[in-house]
């Protein structure tokens, strides 16, 4: 096909100038480039270039057994990697017909909602920074740290978590983890309230965000937007409600929708989603107490690695360990599409299995990739400073963009 479209105006008499926004620019929050043609402060046209951190995950996944693909999903949306991990586990469980115990579902719900909060903290905090308000970001960041400490207590790592296993979790939540979750759920509402007090009715913030980059529901649907962005445009599509997974149907929560899809609506929708996530976590904590406390994975020895001490002393455990590690487990020859509500929208896993040791084909439907394609067209005619905050409110995560 043709090379880059030449939209640079090389005419020396031209009033227009070319501006490279990215690949590494503090305002892009990630490695991707936009070449903008500027008329003074206004953007005339732009071309997005992505792929700077493309790591060929789909190709790698075709050569890895199922349990080794979890670390790849970490690195998609690395601000909320537990959601990606869980989404992948649930895809394999759907393929193999595994049903997880209720307690596992609730544990997953807690972790996924914490991840959603962590992701929205970043997005809304950084949106504040881009409009000139650093306070909210710093204030909220402390609580993202608390979420990371909860991950650390559960799985040992913080950012790229590799949390959970096919069928459940690698180990049970300990008392410290539960205490940390309870402490967070208790402390965070006040923080969120304070954050909203700083922003929601702040004249400067409203002037910078309200009416900036409005998107109608029709346009958003035409661009296949999903998640908070689509909901800010007024469409109440949430995978958790439409196709409940991990027992979400048992939870009582609301789906916030915005009015006109501008940056301010997206900000409000994300804030409200954090409150709903807290509600869900509280319910999950109550539900989990009614379940037997020692269950943290499904009884699926052909997918769930046995404890190491058993591998050395127990024949069956050794066999299963060997079968899992060598990819000898029988899986049905079929195809699965499983979607979860990621922090940025519908995160889908399309898995075609031929019964071999690794997927025949695995495709990630990455919400950032699909959401971001509207950025260049919608920036036309916008002020550069508005385009910057529009980008931060899209919450484009470079890992999810490039896969």
């Amino acid at each position: 096909m043709q090379n880059h479209p030449v939209f640079f105006d090389n005419d020396p008499q031209s009033e227009l100038s070319t501006l490279n926004l990215g690949p590494t620019h503090p305002a892009t929050h990630g490695v991707f480039q936009n070449v903008l043609q500027m008329d003074g402060e206004r953007i005339v046209s732009g071309v997005s270039t992505i792929g700077y951190i493309h790591r060929a995950f789909e190709k790698i996944a075709e050569h890895r057994p199922f349990y080794q693909i979890t670390p790849l999903t970490d690195r998609l949306n690395y601000c909320s990697s537990p959601i990606n991990n869980m989404g992948w586990h649930m895809t394999v469980e759907k393929l193999a017909g595994i049903t997880t115990p209720k307690r596992v579902d609730y544990m997953r719900v807690i972790i996924m909602e914490l991840a959603r909060i962590a992701d929205h903290i970043i997005c809304n905090g950084v949106l504040g920074v881009d409009t000139g308000a650093f306070t909210g970001f710093l204030y909220m960041m402390e609580y993202r740290e608390e979420i990371y400490e909860i991950y650390e207590e559960i799985c040992g790592s913080r950012l790229t978590t590799n949390i959970g296993r096919i069928g459940g979790f690698e180990r049970n939540f300990n008392t410290i983890a539960f205490n940390k979750i309870r402490k967070f759920v208790k402390a965070f509402p006040a923080v969120l309230k304070e954050f909203e007090n700083l922003f929601n009715r702040n004249r400067i913030f409203i002037d910078r965000t309200k009416g900036v980059a409005p998107v109608t529901a029709e346009t958003a649907l035409s661009y296949s937007w999903s998640g908070p962005l689509l909901r800010a445009a007024g469409v109440d599509y949430d995978v958790r409600a439409m196709e409940p997974y991990s027992s979400y149907e048992e939870f009582d929560f609301e789906i916030p929708v915005g009015e006109n899809g501008d940056v301010y609506s997206r900000f409000l929708v994300r804030n409200e989603e954090m409150k709903q996530s807290l509600r869900i976590i509280e319910q999950a904590l109550n539900k989990i107490e009614k379940e037997p406390a020692d269950i943290f994975h499904a009884n699926v020895p052909e997918f769930y690695l046995p404890p190491k001490e058993e591998v050395y002393n127990n024949m069956e455990a050794l066999i299963y360990h060997f079968k899992i590690v060598m990819g000898e487990v029988e899986t049905p020859v079929t195809e699965v599409y499983h979607a979860v509500e990621g922090a940025n929208g519908e995160l889908g896993f399309y898995l075609v299995n031929d019964g071999g040791r690794s997927p025949y084909r695995l495709h990630f439907r990455r919400p950032s990739f699909i959401n971001y394609q509207m950025y260049a067209p919608m920036s036309q005619g916008m002020l550069l400073s508005d385009a910057i905050i529009n980008m931060s409110s899209l919450n484009v995560i470079a890992g999810e963009l490039d896969a």
Partner: protein
Amino acid sequence: MGKITNQEVLDKIAAAFGDVVSVTGEPHNLLTVETSREQIIGLLTFLKNDPTLQFIFLTDITAIHYPEQEKSIGIIYHLHSLVNNVRIRIKVFVADGDVHMPTATVLWDGANWMERETYDFFGVVFDGHPDLRRILNVDDMTVFPMRKEYPLEDPNRVDKKDYFFGR
């Protein structure tokens, strides 16, 4: 599941298209149909605009490569009817030497990058696409890396061959 069953979707499609759209199954309750390159835009338009079906949401476009098949490249569309909460998967297979497809950007703006990604990795040329360039790989790449003939690692490496594992 949704407000309408897969059978109702299927009846509607059959009434409009007859046997040019064939059912390949319902894996995990997701209706999967196969059609031809000539029919695909007509089918997508019908599914999107039909007042009861309303498959207005294009979830994804991707492709798959079966090198042993005569029509080796499959293009896979996932649509979602948000009103009825029903999904459908549509597959079109084309032969390797003639990997052309009509573009779906006439129906959804969002198909733009999905088709660019499919072109980038599988070499599917979407005729009528406004800006069909590589998107994730470097511009001067000459191959389509997700096709099965391109190995992930050095093909001369023997220590990872399947026959070491009894396959």
